[in-house]
Amino acid sequence: MSLSRRNFIKGVIAGGAVASSAGYLFRGGGPLLGQQASAPGSVERLITLTVNGQTRRVDVLKQETLAMTLRYKLGLTGTKLGCDRAECGACTVLVDSVPHYSCSVLTQTLRGKQIQTIEGLATADGVLHPVQQAVVDEQGFQCAFCLPGFVMATVGFLKTTPNPTREQLAHGVSGNLCRCQDYDKILTSLMKGAEYMRRTT
């Protein structure tokens, strides 16, 4: 899908202000529209993202990863960068309910997709998601830098496997690394999260 210039301008009006607070990658001027805007399939820098149910207009570089957009453009620092190389899972978010490493997805490829981060799990009035509540109750995780990624991977996994065995759940979150190696307690808390989920649905 390529945005025409007219749609782009309409979108700016409809979507309100452009989010571009801290320019991690690029702050110095530059055209908002790609120079090759007329080529078939070319993309534009100002795009619409749906994050945690909210529509956001964001100025996104072509080489920008979702993790960077979330952390440096949208202020959603709950998503952590542990390796930036798809090797640790700390940056896991849901894209259309499926766990993805946000460090390894170009934001430009996510137009029209639903993105959910750790900040989007609890209700607006602060009621924790069952998996979050289970982690609190069972005191899962130690330093917790890996926690958001583990929780998002679990929430995504439980959508397809709501009643997992401990071993299945371990496979489900096996794309997430914990250097405190609190894996045993993490699994206990996530299993309880699965149980809470089944109770609430």
């Binding site: 090797e87 982690v135 190696q181």
Partner: protein, 814 residues
């Protein structure tokens, strides 16, 4: 031992923030006009910077400042954040600050650094060879520390040491050559010990280096306000890192405000902060703007610290009943490009303690190489000692026909066991405060069903064979002499200041549980302040080496007792009688004989403020640290102050122990190892926070298991460049590699030399996991299959294939 709070689980106050993604780590902070920095890392393992041409970079739009080693204070030869003589490939030479990271990266690529290559060496044994290269211009090894400086990281002189060709020739293939050591101690009659032995074994073992790799790299963000440095950096020890940063930046500690509420892991690599944090601090001053330094995972693999690798040779004599008669240990330690580190010393002492040889000699050389810098990593030294000694004990038990638990039990320390050499200060050998290792082994063997598992070990089914192993991991577990600071305020609540780093072990909060216990204060009325040196923190131990729980439960016991006495004093003063007539309970201080007569905590707090002086912190004890004094002064007048230095007596050195039991299954056709069952029992004193404690035991065991199975560092020796810069190369343990079943227990037996009875727990499980798994592999496939770790599939398969050890015997970093 359990009380109302001590020994009870609770939900730490930071957990909701953590699960909501609101817990902010260093890289989560932003500031207006924040610049980004990228580092230029040395491509060579050892070189001298001849010149740097930054003109093209500085001409780029958006580039704001460039920082080199010339901008940094001299640290009298100690490691600095940037260098003009890189000593390992990946060492930072300069840093660029620019409006965004892309510009900073592009600028780095425009900078021309003229480097003069210098001789380098990546393997400690190569440096010891006649004519072998020195890793540094000044020498190749750290000598013995001056008298009195026997601490693990005591400063030591640089020396040049080469062994002779004869030294090397004297060692059989695969044996560690033993030339002149630079450090040495001994006790007992070694010759008599060996002479009386029924069996003498002499084995060499290579313990690998591994990167600490906390999930959070050492990113930091800094800015200056009114001449004061504000820095968001990741550290294990908030109170003590303020001074480190001040030293690295060259300013007074009072002018540093360090903020670190959450630390994404450290494992020893962020003990008193990270020297690299000077970069954003200095760049920020130079560019006059906030500077964010995002450290990438690859950079972390260079500057992020690693465990010292050791090649050890142990000659041990055993009596026919398995009792050790003499132990002769030689260690060649690789301390990387910097140091000195004392893992080798801790390894010697831990060996003496864990295996209780009646006669022992320890010799060591602490070699510098052009590989990434080391620091203490969770169980620094004792874990490596487990690696060197355990295979010998396992082999002896096999040859003597003894049970593996039995041989360890009979040689284990008991009570106030002696260890190490005679101390010059006392003329006696040191003792531990307490050891209940035999209880831990007995309880573990029973819970693990050791005998039943042992009965099926070694029998093959299909391509699978099982084995069982046991090991005891020891470690020093507590320091003394730190301070506590707390106030009971007129709102009736207790405010505890905690200078501990928040690594998720919950010791940062646990110390307040002790205060709540002593004062009988409802937990919901306790507020803990932590993570910001601007928030009046007391002088606190480093959260390294399993110290915190011991040190800070003592200090906070003292502080709470001080508050308690002040409550009694005020009550006696206002209501008559002697202070001892008053009890403290139910948020009141009241007369024991007439419980209606008393003051609520809120009233007492108001009275303390009215009375002033020592009651509300306007007069402070003489013996507290200057940092505590500064913090207490700022809190003075807010309520009744409990402030004290831990002066409780302690006789002996505090050590903790964990006994680990493992059952593994080895596939003899692939060499693959599967962990079937694992159990650990901690002899770690009184339990403060059971859930957290058991998680520490399991997590620590997992780190040891990772060392047994896969985790490693790899360096190409010809080019001196690290190759393991990705997790799929360095192989930290995944959730699918943990034991299928994992259980942990703790004895909950109080240490007699500390008021709360608690010892530390972070380190000892590492050696337990490491040793137990390696011993189980040996039990399954033969005790001579390997003499290095990690024991990967290739090592097992090749040994089984050829009926002899086939792996590279001595080379490091493969």
């Amino acid at each position: 031992m359990a009380g109302k709070y001590i020994g009870q689980n609770y939900i730490p106050p930071d957990h909701v923030a953590k699960v909501m993604g609101r817990a902010r780590y260093a890289e989560d902070f932003r500031a207006d006009g924040m610049l980004f920095t990228k580092l230029l890392l040395s491509p060579m393992p050892h070189a001298r910077v001849r010149s740097i041409d930054t003109s093209a970079a500085l001409a780029m739009p958006g580039v704001k400042a460039i920082l080199t080693a010339d901008d940094l204070p001299d640290l009298e030869g100690a490691e600095r954040a940037l260098t003009n003589e890189p000593r390992y490939a990946g060492e930072p030479i300069l840093a660029v600050a620019a409006v965004d990271e892309l510009t900073a990266a592009a600028a780095i690529e425009l900078i021309r650094v003229d480097l003069e290559p210098l001789p380098f060496v990546t393997d400690s044994l190569e440096s010891l060879r006649p004519g072998g290269p020195n890793a540094r211009l000044e020498g190749n090894a750290w000598g013995a520390p001056p008298p009195g400086g026997q601490g693990p990281a005591a400063p030591a002189p640089l020396e040049t040491i080469k062994w002779t060709a004869e030294d090397f020739a004297a060692a059989a293939p695969g044996q560690l050559p033993m030339g002149r050591p630079l450090e040495e101690w001994s006790y007992g009659d070694l010759d008599a010990g060996f002479a009386s032995a029924a069996l003498v074994l002499d084995e060499t073992f290579v313990v690998q280096s591994t990167g600490h790799h906390p999930m959070e790299t050492r990113s930091a963000m800094a800015y200056w306000q009114n001449g004061k440095l504000f820095i968001h950096a990741s550290t294990q020890s908030v109170a003590q890192t303020r001074g480190s940063i001040a030293r690295w930046v060259g300013i007074e500690p009072a002018n540093v405000n360090l903020i670190c509420e959450y630390t994404g892991g450290g494992f020893g690599s962020k003990g008193a902060g990270a020297v690299s944090s000077a970069i954003p601090a200095m760049l920020s001053r130079k560019a006059n703007a906030p500077v964010m330094m995002r450290i990438t995972r690859e950079e972390e693999s260079y500057i992020g610290r690693a465990r010292t690798n050791m090649t050890g040779r142990a000659k041990i004599g055993f009596a026919t009943d398995g009792r050790i008669t003499a132990l002769d240990l030689f260690i060649v330690q690789d301390t990387g490009a910097y140091g000195p580190l004392g893992d080798h010393r801790s390894a010697g002492l831990a060996t003496s303690l864990t295996y209780q040889p009646p006669a022992m000699r320890w010799r060591a050389v602490n070699v510098i190489t052009n590989t990434p810098p080391r620091s203490q990593q969770r169980s620094p030294g004792p874990m490596q000692a487990n690696g060197i000694i355990e295979p010998v004990v396992t082999k002896a038990a096999k040859q003597l026909g003894l049970d593996q638990v039995q041989i360890r039990r009979m040689n284990s320390p008991e009570g106030r066991a002696e260890f190490g050499p005679v101390l010059p200060a006392t003329g006696r050998r040191n003792r531990v405060t307490s050891a209940f290792v035999k209880d831990a082994l007995d309880r573990g063997a029973a819970l693990f069903n050791w005998d039943a598992k042992k009965a099926r070990a070694g029998r093959r089914q299909g391509s699978k064979v099982r084995g069982v192993g046991v090991a005891v991991g020891p470690h020093g577990a507590g320091s003394i002499g730190f301070d506590s600071l707390m106030t009971i305020r007129p709102d009736g609540r207790l405010y505890v200041q905690s200078g501990v780093g928040n690594l998720g072990t919950h010791s940062v909060i646990d110390l307040a549980r002790v205060a709540a216990e002593v004062l009988d204060m409802p937990w919901e009325k306790v507020e803990v302040t932590w993570g910001d040196t601007g928030k009046h923190l007391p002088w606190t131990c480093l959260s390294v080496g399993s110290q915190t729980t011991h040190a800070m439960t003592r200090a906070n016991h003292a502080g709470a007792m001080d508050a308690r006495r002040k409550l009694q004093d005020i009550a006696a003063r206002d209501l008559g009688g002697r202070p001892d007539d008053y009890d403290v309970r139910g948020e009141r201080v009241y007369q024991r004989s007439s419980p209606g007569r008393g003051l609520s905590f809120a009233q007492a707090a108001a009275r303390a403020i009215a009375l002033g002086g020592r009651y509300d912190g306007h007069e402070l004890p003489e013996d507290i640290n200057a940092m505590t004094r500064e913090s207490a002064t700022r809190l003075a007048g807010l309520g009744l102050m409990g402030v004290a230095k831990d002066t409780y007596p302690r006789v002996g050195a505090t050590y903790s122990f964990v006994a680990g039991f493992a059952e593994v299954e080895v596939d003899v056709e692939t060499g693959g190892v599967t962990l079937v069952d694992f159990l650990a029992v901690g002899d770690v004193g009184t339990i403060i926070n059971p859930r957290s404690l058991l998680a520490q035991i399991k997590g620590g065991c997992c780190l040891g298991i990772a060392h047994a199975l896969f985790q490693k560092s790899v360096v190409d020796p010809r080019y001196g460049i690290s190759l393991g810069d990705r997790f799929h190369y360095s192989k930290p343990l995944s959730i699918l590699d943990i034991p299928a079943r994992m259980d942990a227990h703790a004895l909950d037996m109080a240490d007699p030399e500390t008021p709360v009875g608690a010892r530390g727990v972070g380190e000892p499980p590492v050696g337990a996991g490491y040793g137990a798994v390696m011993n189980a592999i040996a039990d399954a496939v033969g005790e001579d299959v390997f003499r290095r770790s990690p024991v990967t599939a290739d090592i097992i398969l090749m040994s089984l294939e050829h009926g002899a050890r086939m792996h590279e015997p001595l080379r490091a970093h493969v």
